[in-house]
């Protein structure tokens, strides 16, 4: 204990060591505990806390933010910037030991600041946004629970702790999406989010078990130090499973369908969980596991492909949607695609992806809250075809949203320019022909992003009014909502430059991140790429401005093949339905039938069907002992037959 080890060199196969926490850093556990206690108080006290509960929720996050900031500055002064705090032995089965411990290093410190900082502003905003909702206290309870789980996710020092937080955020997200349970669409969206997330979770869980089976540990330092000893095949499977988990949480192909539907939840939820924090957990997972991903180039190629494919899908679908929150949701899917692209490229691009993640947290939260503010003033209208000309009526929302818009499309000097353009350049920096493939995709994505975001902005705030009849005079939102908007807008302007100059150096202290820069000649020079990406951005934005400056029709128009496909989410939902949903329903029905009727019933049913007598069918009731006995007998015959088959050597 107390022995400070020097930081490991940032190479995948090298040994990774963490220092033990002391001083202020021994209290990082409070970061998780404070929101957790607050959530417990809010949920357990019931109605008694209705009057002041939301302020407790806000202040819990505020305190966590201050503590996170203090710990951050503490960390800056340290030699080994990765400190571990082991609380107790969590699970011990034989040789398997899982530590209940936290790891505070540059990567998690940045995430802590993002989660608590942006989270605090969104909490503040929600006080006003939810003020007319009877369940506001409960809402803040779930919201605090989410923050606690998310902090645990990024602070854990092993994969099991990460999984603990991972499940926690999934649960909180499910509760928050279904918060307006009386809306059937919200209930369905909650289920969809839950099921698709479970697919990803299963991948992560199996990956963790594989680590146990092959490495005998899930501690980050031990896994990263020993990953080089694994065979290529094992690393590939491990990485693909981790990627599956990441894709599920982050709404990446092929598990992207739940994220846009999740917009059925209250808008602050969309801003915090489904834009700024939880959906970036997948990026965190891959960035954290970078020694695993860096150990296998095939794996990196898969991650890059998933990122590139998803970013294009998100753009194309986003351009065809008319619901303001869904456009933003698909844009989130697409932007996270950029981050996956970044982490997949590996090396220095890890840091670029993290910068984009942080910058995105600001400007996307800003735009979601802006959308909430618009909805607040427009009686919960979400259809951008029924907005228009709002710039005059909601000055603050307009200005702040404009900052978010300019930031996401990457106009200098706003944050998106500093965070997205380097990723495009890095994609062009690959060594073989894939430079053109992925670089081209990223560049095309930039143009499309400019197009659909401009469309959204122009249709909402400019052009003629297309409001529904009952709206006479849209009003600006109250101070409690606009102040967070202003602060987030400032973040959207300044964050990119600040982050891009400081974060890469800061992150190099994280195991394996920001490491070696392979020197080779990129296919295009950096200046050309910058010029190109600005050009496509201006083209895309200009086209959208030209098309939509006079508004748009208020009803769906007939459209070509591509637009129709994009409106239907590129038929991915239809695909999911045929491939997963229908067989699932069939399996359930078949099992129910067998279980209720027993094999006896099946035989009777066949007999009745053959004989055509409906009278016999009526006798098919459930729960007869003889049906059960027949089932057991059939099962018994099968088991005995199987054993004898083994004995005869047919199966073994």
């Amino acid at each position: 204990m107390g022995e400070i080890l020097t930081n490991a060199p940032a190479e995948p196969a090298g040994a990774v060591t963490y220092a033990t926490a002391d001083g202020l850093l021994t209290s990082v556990w409070l970061l998780v505990a404070i929101p957790l206690v607050s959530a417990a108080v809010l949920l357990l006290l019931g109605r008694r806390a209705d009057r002041w509960g939301h302020w407790l929720g806000v202040s819990a996050i505020g305190v966590s933010f201050v503590l996170g900031l203090a710990s951050f500055f503490q960390l800056r002064g340290l030699e080994n910037k990765s400190v571990e705090l082991s609380l107790w032995d969590f699970i011990t089965v034989g040789d398997l030991r899982v530590d209940f411990g936290l790891l505070f290093d540059p990567l998690s410190a940045l995430f802590v600041l993002l989660i608590t900082g942006v989270g605090f502003l969104i909490h503040l905003y929600a006080v006003e946004y939810m003020s007319h909702d009877g369940g506001r206290r409960r809402f803040f309870g779930y919201f605090n629970l989410f923050v606690a789980a998310m902090l645990l996710l990024v602070l854990g020092n092993n994969y099991v702790m990460l999984y603990v937080g991972w499940e926690g955020v999934g649960l909180a997200s499910y509760l928050l999406i279904s918060f307006w349970q009386d809306r059937p669409s919200a209930a369905t969206a909650g289920k969809k989010a839950f099921l698709m997330n479970r697919v990803g979770d299963a991948g992560l869980a199996i990956a963790i078990f594989i680590m146990f089976a092959t490495l005998g540990t899930t501690q980050y330092d031990e896994v990263f130090s020993n990953v080089g000893a694994l065979t290529g095949g094992t690393v590939l499977v491990l990485g693909l499973l981790l990627l599956l988990g990441a894709a599920g949480k982050s709404g990446q192909f092929p598990l992207q369908a739940w994220l846009p539907d999740a917009m059925e939840g209250p808008t602050p939820v969309s801003a915090l969980i489904h834009a700024a924090t939880m959906v970036t957990a997948g990026v965190y997972l891959i960035a954290r596991s970078n020694p695993v991903f860096s150990a296998n180039t095939t794996l990196q190629l898969v991650v890059v492909s998933v990122g590139a494919l998803t970013l294009l899908m998100g753009c194309i679908i986003g351009a065809a949607k008319d619901d303001i929150k869904r456009v933003l949701a698909w844009s989130t899917v697409s932007q996270i695609g950029y981050m996956f692209l970044g982490v997949g490229l590996g090396g220095g691009a890890y840091a670029l992806a993290i910068i984009h993640l942080l910058a995105h947290g600001f400007f996307k939260a800003n735009m979601f809250l802006g959308a909430g503010s618009v909805m607040h003033g427009m009686k919960d209208q979400v259809d951008i075809r029924r907005f228009g000309g709002l710039a005059k009526h909601m000055r603050i929302t307009w200005i702040t949203f404009m900052m978010g818009w300019l930031a996401i499309i990457g106009i200098p000097p706003l944050s998106g320019y500093f965070s997205k353009e380097p990723i495009i350049a890095a994609a062009f920096g690959r060594e073989d022909w894939t430079a053109w493939l992925f670089g081209g995709a990223a560049l095309l994505g930039a143009g499309l992003t400019a197009f659909y975001m401009t469309r959204l902005f122009v249709l909402t705030f400019h052009g003629p009014k297309r409001w529904t009849e009952e709206i006479e005079h849209p009003h600006e939102s109250p101070k409690l909502m606009t102040v967070p908007l202003i602060l987030l807008a400032i973040g959207s302007i300044g964050a990119g430059f600040l982050l891009s100059t400081s974060v890469p150096d800061w992150l190099t202290a994280t195991a394996g991140l920001g490491g070696e820069h392979a020197e080779h000649h990129p296919v295009l020079s950096h200046a050309v790429i910058t010029a190109l990406s600005l050009l496509v951005t201006v083209l895309g934005a200009g086209l959208a401005w030209f098309l939509f400056r006079r508004g748009t029709a208020t009803a769906p128009q007939p459209a070509g093949v591509l637009v129709t496909a994009a409106r239907r989410n590129l038929y991915t939902d239809a695909f999911n339905e045929t491939v997963f949903e229908k067989p699932g329903i069939f399996l359930t029905r078949a099992l129910v039938f067998l279980d209720n009727r027993g094999v006896d019933g099946l035989v009777n049913g066949l007999a009745a069907a053959v004989g055509g007598g409906s009278g016999r069918l009526r006798r098919l009731q459930t729960g007869f002992v003889r049906s059960y006995a027949t089932s057991i007998l059939t099962g018994a015959l099968l088991v005995v037959a199987a054993f004898l088959a083994v004995q005869a050597g047919w199966l073994a």
């Binding site: 146990f212 279980d595 054993f643």
Partner: protein, 517 residues
């Protein structure tokens, strides 16, 4: 006449069993000689005291590793650990069984002989004190389970099986309300149970045949002989495999593994809820204790042969339990299917014949028992004028009516769903980790996938309780009496503690994880 040689008996090692059976006999006498109005208190105290005394003896014996009573009983680490587990869980179940505040007269019928649904029956349902015969019956059942997990030959095991099964059949029939359902459940359980016992007994006969003819050993059904026979018996191996299959069927029936699970939903639904809890917790421990011993001691050398078959059974069990739980509309049936799925996970543990696998399985059994008893304790509390309201639609909006109990139940459901920081997570971890280390990856993958499916019905209940508005038919939650409250609290606290700091119990299980052979 040659002198009869009596086997030496270590009475101290057998004390837990003897105490339980003695207390049961005493309970029968109490029924005969103690005045009716005092019987409840006397019987409950007697049963609880006996459990405590037996538990004390288990703790005192905790270092024993011996085979006694001829070679009929093995008192070793797993036996003692599982006996301790059964006794602790049985004490909780007894608290639920003894509850008389939630419903006047308790959960049991006063006179089982009164025709169901008759006017007289309705009168006695209103408030007559429930039958106190349940206590000796439960005590007998516990005694039988204690023998079952320690039995070292197949005949002792068979007798123990009957000793704990017969009282359970009776107990299932004694519900105060919905008596026809309860009697139907008992009859089904009895008939199918007898059917399964026949399989078991036939298996014993075949195995006996298989053990004859080993050089230097006489035939027998004790596990050491069987183990030797597996390696060197000249008899046809058809006998071995057919016998092993039939034995497995008898045990898998009790463990509620597919396709021998068909009785479970009906019986769980019809039986009085405290008895359902008792079966879900203690019977499961006993059945898996026996499965572990039979397959890891007697047939250990044949593990290459039985593992594929039992593996398929395990996957099928998980699948049936998880998928069918999704379609259930009754909370007790939902918990029954969940219990079936859990039997599947436990089978994964049985198929991981290492020290870690054994300790993980034992940990799982005890952790699951705590959670499931707490779950059924909550079920006894949610009621309306007609007794328990078990239809799921009635639970909508319960979170608004009674946030505390809804929170407790939510926590238990999250534990079943395997959400971290609950025992459900640590125990799945403890079982899947060793199974993977033993190279049973396909079982672990099936387990993870089905537990993902299984989480869905649980969370559906959570959402119904919290996010729906209470309807007119939403029942109230009764204020629990001290006994139910105690059982509920023990269950919830154990679920939490075993989820956050499972190390002490896991260490205990690991220390006990070695059979004497």
């Amino acid at each position: 006449m040659s002198e009869l040689k009596l086997p030496s008996i270590d009475y101290a090692a057998l004390a837990p069993i003897l105490i339980m059976l003695g207390a049961a006999l005493l309970g029968v006498l109490v029924e005969a000689f103690v005045p009716r109005h005092r019987r409840h208190l006397v019987q409950l105290s007697l049963a609880l005291l006996a459990v405590l005394a037996a538990l004390t003896m288990v703790v005192l014996n905790s270092d024993d590793r011996l085979i006694t009573a001829g070679s009929a009983i093995a008192v070793d680490g797993p036996a003692l650990f599982l006996q301790g587990g059964i006794l602790v869980l049985a004490a909780m179940a007894l608290l639920l069984i003894g509850e008389r505040v939630v419903e006047r007269g308790g959960a049991f019928v006063a006179h089982a002989a009164v025709t169901a649904e008759s006017p007289e029956d309705r009168r006695q349902a209103e408030g007559a004190d429930g039958a106190t015969e349940v206590y000796p019956l439960v005590t007998f059942a516990i005694g039988g389970m204690l023998i079952f997990v320690a039995a070292n030959d197949l005949l002792t095991m068979f007798i123990a099986l009957e000793v704990f099964s017969l009282p359970l059949y009776l107990l299932c029939a004694l519900a105060r309300r919905r008596r026809l359902l309860s009697q139907e459940a008992a009859l089904k359980y009895f008939m199918l149970g007898a059917y399964a016992s026949a399989f078991f007994l036939f298996g014993v006969a075949l195995i006996y045949g298989f053990t004859s003819g080993i050089p230097g050993r006489s035939a027998g059904v004790d596990f050491a002989t069987i183990n030797a026979a597996v390696n060197e018996s000249p008899a046809s191996r058809v006998l071995l495999f057919a016998g092993m299959a039939l034995l497995a069927i008898g045990l898998l029936f009790k463990a509620a593994a597919a396709p021998f699970h068909v009785w479970t939903p009906d019986v769980y639904q019809g039986a009085p809820t405290p008895v359902t809890g008792f079966m879900a917790a203690c019977t499961k421990v006993a059945a898996f204790g026996a499965l572990l011993r039979v397959f890891q001691v007697a047939f250990a050398s044949a593990s290459w042969d039985f593992a594929p078959v039992l593996g398929v059974v395990a996957v099928l069990t998980m699948l049936v339990g998880a998928v069918l739980a999704v379609t259930q509309t009754d909370i007790k049936r939902l918990l029954a299917y969940s219990s079936i799925a859990n039997a599947g996970y436990l089978l994964v543990g049985v198929l991981a014949p290492s020290k870690d696998g054994l300790s993980g399985t034992m940990f799982y059994l005890v952790a699951y028992g705590f959670s499931v008893l707490a779950a059924f304790a909550v079920v006894t509390l949610v009621r309306d004028g007609d007794g328990e309201a078990t239809h799921l639609s009635r639970w909508a909006g319960l979170g608004r009516r009674s946030p505390f109990f809804a929170s407790v139940f939510t926590f238990i459901l999250l534990a079943f769903a395997g959400i971290p920081l609950t025992s459900g997570f640590t125990s799945k971890f403890a079982i899947f980790g060793p199974a993977l280390a033993e190279g049973r990856a396909w079982l672990v993958i099936a387990g993870v996938l089905t537990s993902m499916v299984l989480a869905f019905p649980y969370l559906r209940v959570v959402v119904m309780m919290w996010l729906s508005e209470p309807g007119e038919s939403t029942p109230t939650v009764a204020v629990p009496g001290g006994l139910t409250a105690a059982a509920l609290m023990i269950g919830v606290v154990a679920t939490l503690v075993l989820g956050v700091a499972p190390a002490p119990l896991l260490d205990l299980a690991t220390g006990a994880a070695e059979f004497v052979r």
